[in-house]
């Protein structure tokens, strides 16, 4: 009986999921979308007005809808905050003893590779309004690069070199900046995005986002390195 009822439930679940899929795919196929005029076309059209922003995607998330991006940043900060709240969790005894392998080759190649990765990340952040990239991707790439250093030189030493505590405060200062830009950008859009400083404001915002994401990425990675192999 036990086995039978389990398989019945599985069948029911499969039925439900198939119904869901059929509904959604049906909704997709039923609609003939030729001739629908979408907002995207208008964004493309308007992009001529802001010649210093040639990446239209950046225009959308960095200018027209920066308020959403503010919440995106808040979400990332909250994730980092959550990790920080739990970071005084005791690592289990087994995992503390697992020291990274200290080999000269790894260590040397890490210190050689890391600057390249970091420069690439910074480049992505700087050029977000011109080409693909963005502060977020740049920050994550530079932050993940540190993992190399952390694995080669030991997480604790890397953490000490980065002065984690003061960095975290910097992260929230950046959040303030983003808040300011979101508010001012909503109140005085043209002044902020074109007249006041030209590309300056945008690049500044992007670089600070990258900085913030970089710090956050490191904080998350540090937590997981400390609690390695616990799941």
């Amino acid at each position: 009986m036990g086995k039978y009822s389990v398989s019945l439930k599985t069948l029911y679940v499969i039925f439900l999921v198939i119904m869901f899929g059929a509904f959604t795919i049906g909704a997709l196929l039923i609609v003939d979308d030729t001739g629908v005029s979408r907002l995207g076309a208008i964004y493309l059209e308007r992009s001529q007005k802001f010649p210093n922003i040639s990446n239209v995607v950046f225009g959308v998330y960095g200018m027209y809808r920066f308020y959403d991006t503010l919440f995106e940043l808040l979400i990332f900060s909250t994730a980092v905050l959550g990790i920080t709240v739990f970071s005084d969790l005791e690592p289990s005894p087994g995992s503390a003893s697992r020291r990274p392998v200290e080999s000269h080759v790894v260590s040397a190649s890490a210190s050689f590779l890391y600057p390249i990765i970091a420069v690439f990340g910074i480049y992505l952040a700087f050029s977000a309004h011109l080409g693909p990239g963005g502060g977020f991707a740049g920050g994550v790439i530079s932050g993940t690069g540190i993992l190399l250093l952390a694995l080669a030189k030991g997480a604790e030493e890397t953490a000490r070199n980065f002065r984690e505590d003061s960095m975290k405060q910097l992260e929230y200062v950046v959040l303030f900046l983003a808040l300011l830009v979101a508010i001012l950008g909503a109140l005085y859009p043209t002044e902020v995005y074109r007249d006041a400083l030209g590309t300056g404001v945008i690049t500044l915002v992007n670089i600070s986002i990258a900085m913030k994401v970089f710090i956050g990425t490191w904080a998350i990675l540090h937590f997981f390195v400390k609690h390695r192999g616990e799941v």
């Binding site: 990446n55 995607v57 950046f58 087994g94 697992r98 992505l124 080409g131 693909p132 990239g133 963005g134 977020f136 991707a137 994550v140 790439i141 932050g143 993940t144 993992l147 990425t217 998350i220 990675l221 997981f224 390195v225 609690h227 390695r228 192999g229 616990e230 799941v231």
Partner: protein, 280 residues
């Protein structure tokens, strides 16, 4: 081309869910993100591709891999039963230790032994927190469908000790032990205990009229509690059993290699030497 890549993605998603080993699933998930990132490039969304590449492929995979337990170790969990596997002055000892050390060396893993209570064994192996159950394990020791056991390396008996005349009370037995292979004592007469030591104490206090255990555990316990059985007792052998190891039932590969290794030991005769060293 786009359709081809989407179908590849579909295949990958199925493959992720069919994996038994978590690490493989995680790495396949990384590949899944990579392919989706390629699709973004293809459909003219380089911004999304770069972000997905940075977060989905690199960052998320790193976090998962860091969080997953080290796969370079053979985690053995065991109940402490001298002389099978036990600790003395902080040093691991026992016949099983020698077998497992040899095995771990053969498959290039580092041996890690953790002693746990007998009731935690099932959940630890079921949650893949450990690879092998040791410590005088025998088939029927844990009533669990999700465990497969290896070949035996040593013979033992399942024995029942009871008072003569029997008198009142239940028969004590270890929790989770499945007796259906050996005897027909009905469930109502049994009361379950979490260790043999407790059963010996209960027996001496007269709370139970007898108890059932395997010979290895029984003598270890009598030795440890350092007591003799109080009343006049009779020992009945219920059946023969094979001491062996157990792995989680998904780990067929590990089980095969363990069986091969045990067969090698038997063939070369090493097992006999080893056992005579430890079981005098």
């Amino acid at each position: 081309m786009l359709i081809l890549f989407s179908l590849l993605l579909l295949g990958l998603s199925v493959a992720v869910l069919l994996q038994n080993r978590l690490l493989n699933a995680v790495i396949l998930l990384g590949v899944f993100s990579l392919v989706s990132s390629v699709i973004y490039f293809w459909v003219g969304a380089p911004d999304v591709a770069v972000t997905e590449g940075a977060i989905g492929v690199a960052f998320v995979t790193f976090i998962y891999v860091l969080a997953l337990s080290d796969q370079g170790k053979l985690h053995v969990i065991a109940e402490e039963v001298p002389p099978f596997l036990f600790q003395e002055k902080g040093e691991l000892q026992g016949a099983e230790l020698e077998i497992l050390e040899g095995f771990a060396e053969k498959i290039n893993l580092e041996l890690e032994v953790e002693f746990v209570g007998h009731q935690e064994l099932t959940s630890l192996i079921g949650g893949r927190r450990a690879d092998v159950i040791a410590g005088a394990y025998f088939p029927g020791f844990l009533a669990q469908e999700e465990i497969s056991h290896s070949k035996g390396y040593n013979q033992g008996q399942l024995a029942k000790i009871h008072r003569t005349p029997p008198g009142e009370g239940d028969i004590g037995i270890l929790a989770e032990t499945d007796l259906s292979e050996f005897t027909e004592i009905s469930e109502e007469d049994l009361s379950r205990f979490s260790s043999v030591d407790e059963m010996v104490t209960a027996y001496n206090e007269g709370r139970i009229r007898g108890f059932i255990s395997d010979s290895g555990r029984m003598s270890a316990s009598l030795y440890r509690v350092n007591t003799t059985l109080r009343d006049k007792s009779e020992i009945v052998t219920l059946g023969e059993l094979d001491y062996s190891f157990a792995v989680s039932s998904g780990e067929e590969e590990l089980l095969d290699r363990l069986n091969d290794y045990l067969a090698d030991l038997t063939r070369s005769g090493k097992i006999g030497e080893l056992l005579s060293d430890h079981f005098r």
